[in-house]
């Protein structure tokens, strides 16, 4: 079930009415039922995958909980043991918790790996060794990367003792399957989400309208901008022989806009819908294109994925015994200054490798991840130079310089992202430099851009929408726009929403002639 469908709106309406009509103690159970229905619509046979992940993680959590409960009981009942005995008891419980966690990780990451990466591995082996192993073409369950990561974050936290495990399997299943975030995240943390997921919610008109506004805004981004740009992006990317030079620059620009509108719009719908059910989800974006450098960009784009990698890969790897040994060795061999960077950079590379692979089973994403990593490391290394530059040059503190930096970051990210859309890595590296040739430029502005099914009017709509994005982005800098809107008098407040709805219905790229496209992030 796509968010952009009447079916989804109908589903939402029914669930919404039931949610606030039923006694409040049934609310979370209704959400679970709704989520399962939602998932079953995607395809009933996929339910098995998400069920295995939910149940196995719940069970592992419960085992860990039992082990820790036994430890606590033992320590409480036998207060007069030595410190050593205490320590070894704690160690034993910790070890047990860890091994349960590891098993759970192997199982679930195993499923993810098999579903998502088997064909990638086969393809790579085939091209490396000239073999001809057939692709298996596994079905890719909806949102598998998202719910797997969310569950794995939970089990790691439980084994670390960060919070108590959820003992009720149904309640835990809701955490894994909660429908608004199934499609494309955000990747929630249990301690954060559980605060509002299971509680009873009164009909809070203010919260509900603000949620609805947010969702409407998301539909605007998706339907008016993202879906409208799909034909240009695919048209250029899939016909590299025809479209080079200027077209590639257009691709770089429009793909970034499309990705932004699609992904952040989808998240707006997700967060807005969740809010209508009284559930608070973590923000996934913080005006990413207002970032001044790529490190900052990655703190503000797809935030829940970034923090997931940081907490569960970057830190554990960086502080692992093995890495500390590497650190000692590199300091001895390379000197303190250089040596101390080795572990940080090694972990960074690992994280970006993982991020790349997470985004998709192809070398395009691996290269994309590593290029991001490279840019980050280079800018880290150039830090002292920047500091000097700022001291010397007065204009580096001006507003204009800030804007230049944002502009630069936008284009840097845009150029890296173009790896998403071309068929393979060599092709991408062949196409991007053609921008600097004279190819395609004159053709582009003499009707070439109108060959993809978009007319001048469509580009005008996109341009106007971008201006609106910019204004909303600037407003957002103060506080959430929904809150600002709520403070406005009744008439302008509703007028804005009313206009937005009409704009979506009339100018949305949907229906015949426009292929309702799946969310780009759906199967990442």
């Amino acid at each position: 079930m796509s968010f952009v469908s009447l079916g989804f709106l109908l589903f939402l309406l029914i669930l919404f009415i039931l949610y606030y009509a039923l006694p409040r103690r049934f609310q979370w159970a209704l959400l679970l039922a709704g989520s399962l229905v939602f998932y079953a619509f995607a395809s009933p046979k996929y339910l098995i995958y998400i069920a295995v992940t939910a149940l196995s993680t719940w069970f592992a959590g419960k085992l860990i909980h039992d082990a820790y409960a036994a430890r606590d009981a033992f320590l409480k009942d036998t207060p007069d043991i030595t410190k050593e005995e205490k320590k070894s008891c704690k160690e034993a419980a910790k070890k047990k918790g860890r091994s349960i966690m590891v098993c759970c990780l192997i199982l679930n990451l195993g499923i993810l790996a098999v579903c998502k990466y088997t064909d990638f591995a086969i393809g790579t082996i085939n091209s490396l060794f000239g073999t001809d192993i057939a692709f298996l073409r596994f079905a890719l369950p909806m949102g598998i990367s998202f719910y797997t990561f969310q569950s794995m974050g939970y089990i790691i936290d439980v084994s670390r003792g960060k919070y108590q495990a959820e003992l009720n399997p149904a309640r835990f299943a809701l955490f894994v399957t909660f429908f608004p975030q199934l499609v494309q995240g955000p990747i929630s943390r249990f301690d954060q989400l559980s605060q509002t997921l299971y509680s009873e919610h009164a009909f809070d008109a203010q919260k509900i309208t603000q949620g609805a506004w947010r969702a409407v805004w998301g539909f605007f981004k998706k339907m008016v901008v993202a879906d409208r740009l799909v034909p240009v992006v695919t048209g250029i990317a899939q016909n590299p022989d025809k479209y080079a030079g200027g077209y590639v620059l257009a691709l770089v620009f429009f793909y970034t806009i499309q990705l932004y509108a699609d992904f952040t719009g989808g998240i707006d719908i997700t967060i807005g819908v969740a809010k209508m059910f009284g559930v608070d989800l973590a923000e996934n974006f913080e005006r990413p294109f207002f970032s001044k450098n790529i490190t900052e960009f990655w703190r503000r784009w797809h935030i829940t994925m970034g923090t997931w990698f940081k907490d569960y890969i970057f830190y554990p790897v960086s502080v692992s015994k093995w890495m500390l040994k590497v650190s000692k060795w590199s300091r001895a061999k390379l000197g303190t200054q250089l040596g101390k960077r080795v572990p940080v950079y090694l972990s960074t590379i690992l994280v970006w490798l993982a991020t790349g692979i997470w985004h998709g089973a192809s070398w395009n994403f691996v290269v994309w991840g590593l290029l991001n990593c490279l840019v980050i490391i280079i800018s880290q290394e150039l830090e002292p130079l920047y500091a000097k530059f700022h001291e010397k040059c007065a204009f580096s503190n001006t507003r204009g310089w800030d804007i230049f930096q944002m502009f630069r970051t936008f284009w840097l990210m845009a150029f890296l992202r173009v790896l998403d859309v071309y068929r393979n890595v060599p092709l991408t590296f062949r196409m991007v430099p053609t921008i600097f040739s004279s190819k395609g430029w004159s053709e582009m502005f003499s009707g070439g851009m109108l060959k993809f099914g978009l007319e001048v009017r469509d580009y005008i709509i996109v341009a106007i929408a971008l201006v609106i994005f910019l204004i909303v982005g600037i407003l957002q800098g103060k506080k959430p726009v929904a809150e600002q809107l709520a403070e406005k008098p009744l008439v302008p407040r509703y007028l804005i929403v009313w206009i937005l709805i009409i704009v979506i219905l009339v100018f949305g790229a949907y229906g015949i002639g426009y292929d309702a496209t799946q969310f780009i992030y759906n199967q990442f």
Partner: protein, 351 residues
């Protein structure tokens, strides 16, 4: 709380009203372009008291003149033909008509039997959008939809036509709340002529078998007629193009034979009709013009009254008054088109 509910109701009503107006504005009007689209909605103002019902594609709405049938034989009739009306759509047109009246004779043109599957969204729209809402329309929509279509876009045509915002013309504003009456009980008049000349040879087909869905709905048409005591007549209009293959003819003949139906192939009667393809068609043999349609009606009116016993109802004063109005409109349009021919050299508008 009460205040809040009032506010919400006002908001919803305002939004609904805007959307309604917007939809009115954005849907095609079929008043001065693609006029054929108006046909399917024009029926409802003329429902009741029609003894003969024609169903089928352009081969009915350009080839028979109900006014001529009335004038010469006192036969009341209506043509519920629409462009590329497919067999299942013809069936639902019949069903829809039965909600208003029960004719004595139903005439079905068999050309559409060549289409085994839903064909074209644009033509579906011309046939379906004008129908009034009923379960019959819903069934018709479901039977007709191509893969890309949705039921919702028929319930709310705004969902389909929203992107017309940049193509709006004065027509859309002029006909926002009114419609233009263009047909004569479903007949779309053209007085100009274009000789048929050399019609291209038919292109051989890999398979001439008429599809099961067509038979299924022809069965339904037949059964519905049986149930309602309606006489069903199958016809093939005398259009020279597109080709009507012998292999199709045989299958239709066999069907008619099997169920004891009348089947008239007007292509074979061209001489008897005194059809002159140099003067009786306005587009070189695809569609008949007024002269051709009146020749057809003269022949077929005789058949209807003599063979089928369709009554002469000219003695009914109320009906006669109604038809007098139609005749006047018929003459008016005829004159208007001849005037165009004289003054502009071509017919570009119906009126």
């Amino acid at each position: 709380m009460k205040k809040r509910i009032v506010k919400i109701v006002i908001c919803v009503v305002l939004l609904a009203a805007t959307l309604f107006l917007l939809q009115k504005l954005l849907v095609p009007k079929y008043a001065t372009t693609n006029e054929e689209g108006i046909l399917s909605s024009e029926y409802y103002a003329n429902a009741g008291n029609n003894d003969v019902l024609f169903i089928g594609d352009c081969e009915v709405y350009t080839n028979f003149s109900p006014v001529k049938l009335w004038r010469d034989y006192g036969i009341t009739s209506y043509i519920r033909g629409t462009p590329q009306q497919l067999t299942w759509q013809s069936y639902y047109m019949l069903e829809d008509t039965l909600r208003y009246e029960t004719p004595k004779v139903v005439v079905f043109n068999v050309l559409a039997m060549k289409y085994a599957e839903p064909q074209n969204e644009a033509y579906n729209r011309l046939t379906l959008d004008g129908m009034k809402w009923s379960t019959t329309k819903l069934d018709a929509v479901k039977a007709s939809m191509t893969d890309e279509e949705t039921v919702a876009s028929y319930i709310l045509p705004l969902l389909r036509f929203h992107s017309r915002w940049s193509e709006l013309t004065s027509e859309d504003f002029n006909y926002l709340f009114k419609t233009e009456k263009l047909s004569h009980n479903g007949y779309l008049m053209r007085v100009d002529a274009k000789p048929a000349g050399q019609v291209p040879d038919p292109v051989p087909l890999p398979d001439y078998t008429i599809g099961p869905k067509c038979w299924e709905y022809l069965d339904k048409i037949r059964e519905t007629c049986d149930k309602n005591g309606i006489r069903l007549i199958l016809i093939k209009a005398p259009s020279l193009y597109p080709a009507w293959y012998d292999q199709w003819e045989k299958q239709i003949e066999d069907y008619a034979g099997k169920y004891g139906l009348e089947y008239i192939n007007f292509l074979e009667l061209a001489d008897e009709l005194e059809m002159d393809y140099n003067t009786d068609t306005y587009d070189a043999g695809l569609h008949l013009n007024l002269s051709g349609a009146e020749k057809m009606s003269a022949w077929f009116g005789k058949y209807l009254s003599e063979k089928c016993g369709v009554e002469d109802r000219r003695s009914d004063a109320a009906l006669a008054a109604e038809w007098a109005e139609r005749e006047a409109f018929y003459e008016y349009m005829k004159e208007a088109q001849y005037k165009q021919l004289r003054e502009e050299g071509a017919v570009t508008r119906y009126k």
